[in-house]
């Protein structure tokens, strides 16, 4: 039973929570305003005027398109690699108990638990030692490594809620292992994999610290932005790119949230 006094939040708590949320969101919204500013030399506030000109300018910039294209290709391939490796690992860890199971979880989480600079410099010096030239594929080696954990986490959580008896039932009814995977396992873990894949894509699309170490001359979109941040040349174009990046990353995050939200209603969860 709950008394009235306790079901209402104290005013101070409400204000503190609201201020905290504003602190988290206002800075991002500010970028949207700056994308329309007519000022192109400084970060002047309030903007002297508003214009749509910079969208056209950005649209016609080949370097932005190249960076965007590279980022999308890297993120897509890293996501596929992470999906395969993460699902295999999650299936093995959640299906069976074996020696060293905890160690495997730790190994998967390590690339994201240790600061990115350590992963980055470790990979770079290893590439140097092994005489591997920096290329598109060295970026992917780095990205896929830390994307595995996102897929793994999502898949493990779903496997735990999926009953093993479903698989046994499928086998008893005469399906072989591949049919069972295709018609029983995959539909059950599908949304979790989709969500994990989207988050992995968002993670790779945004990664900059490891990428600065594993990319040679190519610039992914974050590397392009980093260069603009360190040596601003085209502030208005950067503003527009930043706004587009915010919008593009919000979609997969929202989608991933809605996909995993109803995860409790999985077939066989009420065993």
């Amino acid at each position: 039973m709950r008394s009235d006094r306790n079901s209402r939040a104290p005013l101070a708590l409400k204000i503190a929570a609201a201020l905290g949320l504003l602190f988290l969101h206002l800075p991002i919204l500010l970028i949207f305003v700056y994308a329309f500013t007519t000022e192109d030399r400084s970060f002047q506030w309030p903007p002297p005027g508003y214009t749509l000109k910079w969208f056209a300018v950005t649209w016609n910039r080949p370097d932005v398109w190249e960076a965007l294209g590279l980022s999308v290709r890297v993120a897509a391939i890293s996501t596929v690699v992470a999906l395969v490796l993460g699902t295999l690992c999650a299936a093995a860890v959640s299906r069976t108990k074996f020696f060293g199971r905890e160690t495997i979880s730790l190994l998967v989480i390590l690339p994201i638990a240790l600061p990115g600079i350590i992963t980055g410099i470790a990979l770079r010096s290893a590439f140097n030692l092994a005489d591997i030239p920096f290329s598109f594929w060295t970026i992917i080696l780095g990205h896929a490594t830390f994307c595995v954990v996102v897929v793994y986490n999502n898949a493990v959580a779903r496997f735990r809620r999926t009953s093993g008896s479903l698989i046994e039932a499928s086998m008893d009814l005469g399906a072989d292992g591949f049919q069972t995977f295709r018609h029983v396992v995959l539909p059950n873990i599908g949304t979790a994999l989709l969500a994990g894949g989207m988050l992995a894509f968002a993670l790779s699309f945004d990664e900059v610290i490891v990428t600065t170490f594993t990319a040679g001359q190519q610039a992914t979109l974050p590397i392009w932005m980093l260069e603009e941040l360190v040596r601003p040349r085209q502030r208005p174009v950067t503003n527009v790119v930043a706004m587009v990046v915010v919008l593009v990353t919000f979609l997969p995050i929202l989608a991933a949230y809605y996909l995993t939200r109803d995860g409790d209603q999985i077939a066989g969860s009420g065993k």
Binding site: P27, L88, I117, I118, V208, A242, Y257
Partner: protein, 315 residues
């Protein structure tokens, strides 16, 4: 599975059928096949490079030729203890501690409101309110603060509108934390660190607070505890594992970051920047490697402490 099952069912025909049968009868083989690709990838690419890096920290650099001397030595670690390098380590660790403390203070009301009072739609809103900033682009967030903290930016404007410009100037005139403008001061670096890592603190704190039964808080106030006493002796100890779990992220991420202090901050180096500088233009991989050992050791110690406090159950 067992020999009995085999006796009842005939084996499947075809390549896939046979393969499927073999895998089903040998769970260990299946496990081995499932684990091999991810373990090979993580083991060779990740652990391999990590150990190669750590090994290099035991080499040293020849001062005259600038080449790496491949002999086992602790010389590079001794170099780490030079005053200028110790300064860098101390600066980074104090920044990480300050950022962690501030994030915990700001995150607590949000997490507490979300865990205890928010229901239905509001709950989802609070969850997304922490998730969206967590996943949105790191560089865009840093960029946003470059806009805000710039001398001609919105913060200076707000201070001017509120007739508080002298306050801002007095703050910037302070030694150590002040500077020419907010975007080149430690204060700026601190604000951006707190902003960028705050969501990592909110989510675990909220998870821990969700598990605090309301009856305990009621019992405390029934027994005469004031709200402050209830908070100090009941709520905080129960929330602590979650806060520590969050602090693992804020602490570790601040220790290793080199982009935020480079873009917003004074010219004095943090560990991450030192690593970057030593491996890049200086080509002193051994010293860079030794520098990376510092956050690894600190985090190892931190994780060990956190584990003793039961923080891992709150993740």
């Amino acid at each position: 599975m067992s020999a009995g099952a085999h006796a009842i069912l005939p084996g499947r025909g075809g390549l896939f059928g046979t393969l499927s049968d073999v895998l089903w009868r040998n769970p260990r083989l299946t496990l081995f096949l499932m684990l091999t690709p991810p373990l090979l990838w993580l083991g060779i690419i990740y652990l391999g490079s990590l150990f190669a890096l750590l090994a290099q920290s035991f080499f040293s650099i020849d001062e005259f030729s600038g080449l790496i001397r491949y002999e086992w030595t602790f010389k590079t670690y001794a170099e780490l203890l030079r005053p200028s390098n110790l300064d860098i380590i101390l600066r980074t660790v104090s920044m990480a501690a300050a950022v962690t403390l501030a994030s915990a203070v700001i995150a607590f009301p949000i997490a507490y409101y979300a865990a205890r009072y928010a229901r239905g739609k509001w709950k989802a809103l609070f969850y997304l309110g922490a998730m969206l900033p967590l996943w949105s682009s790191y560089l865009v967030k840093v960029y946003a603060w470059k806009l805000i903290l710039a001398k001609e930016g919105i913060l200076t404007w707000i201070f001017a509108k509120l007739h508080l410009t002298p306050v801002l100037e007095a703050w910037l005139a302070l030694p150590v934390i002040g500077g020419n403008s907010l975007s080149v001061s430690y204060t700026g670096t601190f604000i951006v660190f707190v902003y960028v890592w705050l969501p990592y603190m909110i989510l675990p704190t909220q998870a821990a607070l969700e598990r605090v039964p309301e009856s305990m808080l009621e019992a405390s106030s029934d027994l005469g505890g004031s709200p402050a006493q209830t908070f100090r002796h009941v709520l905080l100890p129960l929330a602590l594992p979650g806060i520590i779990a969050g602090s693992i992220f804020t602490f570790s991420l601040t220790l290793g970051d080199y982009i935020i202090p480079q873009i917003i901050g004074s010219s004095r180096l943090f560990i991450g920047q030192a690593v970057y500088a030593h491996q890049g233009t200086a080509g002193n991989i051994p010293l860079a490697a030794a520098f990376t050992v510092v956050p690894i050791v600190i985090m190892g110690f931190y994780l060990w402490m956190a584990k003793r406090q039961g923080a891992f159950n709150a993740l």
